[in-house]
Structures are given as C-alpha cells and as structure tokens.
C-alpha cells in the first residue's frame, strides 16, 4: 500500500479529477496549500497575467503588497517591460492531492497525474510516493487492503 502525494496547479485540479475517475481512482483528497520549490515562488509576468485572467485566487503570501487587492498585482504586472520578467512571490497557492493505492496501481496513477498536469513550465508540481502501513475503514472497521477496495 502506497500513499501518493502530489502538488498541483490550482487550475489543473478539475482536469486531474476527471482523469483519475477515468482510470477508476475514486478515493482522492484535495488540500489547499501554499508552497514553493527551487524557483522560490518566481512566476513570469505572462503566466501571472494568465492566472489573473482566469480569476484564479491569488492568495499571495509574503509579498510586500499581500494586503492589496488583485488590482495592485495587475497594475504591477502591466507596468513590467517584458512578459518573461519573473516576480518572486514566495509561497504560491497550490493544491495537494493525496491518494492511498495498491502498490501495483501506483505507476498508472502517477502517469495519469503527469499527463493531466504537464505544461512544461516551472511550477507543474511534484509527486511523492510514500509507504503506507495500513488503512482502516471507519464505517466497518475493515483493515489493510480490504479497506481500500
């Protein structure tokens, strides 16, 4: 039994849900998190603009203007000379997904998540595979592999 932890872009969540249902994974938990990776939360102005156009919830933590309205962000990105200029936001809003699955299903699930989320830009996310020792279904008290089926 393995636990799959994936960090995803917020806008890819609906897509990911559909893909997981398509391969028969029903038990999924999503969490709202903020995070950053090796880029230290840098986002290109172009990408930020796209996000704002989609009315993405930009809950920007640690930014000097974090208490300002999104308008302030738009103003700032609009004034930048080049769309590839990167702005460091620190922690960016992401979604965390956790799935507990049988060992033999892990590869398929990882492939599905990668296919659904890959854009080729920084910030696509990571997938971590961790061991899970047991699972218990609260309703019936079933333990181990039976609790997953």
């Amino acid at each position: 039994m393995k636990q799959i932890i994936a960090i995803l872009r917020e806008e890819q969540v609906e897509n990911t849900k559909q893909v997981l249902i398509a391969i028969g994974v029903m038990g999924v938990t999503f969490l709202y998190v903020t995070g950053r990776g090796q880029q230290k939360g840098r986002v290109s102005a172009r990408e930020l603009g796209e996000s704002l156009n989609r009315n993405m919830r930009m809950q920007i933590v640690n930014a000097p203007f974090c208490n300002d309205s999104p308008d302030a962000v738009t103003e700032m990105t609009g004034s930048l000379a080049h769309p590839d200029t990167e702005i460091a936001f620190g922690f960016l809003p992401k979604r965390m997904l956790t799935i507990v699955a049988y060992d033999e299903d892990v590869n398929g699930i990882v492939q599905a998540i990668v296919n659904a989320n890959q854009t080729g830009r920084h910030g696509d996310g990571r997938i971590f595979i961790c061991p899970m020792i047991s699972a218990i279904r609260v309703r019936t008290g079933e333990q181990g592999d039976k609790a997953l089926s």
Partner: protein, 113 residues
Amino acid sequence: MIWAIIRPESAQRVIKALDNAGIGGITRLHVTGHGREMGITLGAVHYMEIPKEMLMIMVPDNDVAKTVMIIRTEAKTGSKTKPGEGTIGDGKIFVTYVEDTFAIRTAGKPGGN
C-alpha cells in the same frame, strides 16, 4: 520528507532560516490541532483546536539533520520560567521517507532532490 507542526508566528522565521541554508521545496498547510495538553483554557473558554502551521519539506537524506536542527532552533520560543527551554505548543517534527519522486514538468526524476 519532514513534516513540522509549528506556531504560525514562528513560520516566517523558520522559512527564512531554511531559505538562508538553501533548503528547497516547502509546502505550507494551515491546520488546527492539539497535543497532550488537550488544548488551552483562556479564562472561561477552552480551546481544543489551536491554529498551527504545518510545513512539508523535501530534502535529501544527508540534509535531514541540518533541516531538523534549523527548525528546532527557530521554532523554539523562550520559556519565562525555565531559561533555555521551549514552551508547550512549540510544535513537533516528524521525519519519514519518500520512496519515489517525480517532477511533473519533466515527467522524470528531478535533479538534486
């Protein structure tokens, strides 16, 4: 993989220290919970759910000790009665392992982690 539950007010300090040490990926969760003390009583009100910040930090095996030490030093708040000791509620650090890692962007193994 390191999970650390710390005070929300120490989070900023811990993150800054990890940053200075060059420790890469951090994911941050807002959680509530209580420990052995079963919450806190302030006046007549008993609080069972105390807001905490949970950090999920991915580091290579040989950086684990360093990371834990940084969190320990930065998240520890001073005790009024016993100098040098922390305060109840400073948090806990859990260290576990990850069997496999994939970067979605490249669909492969990320470098360095």
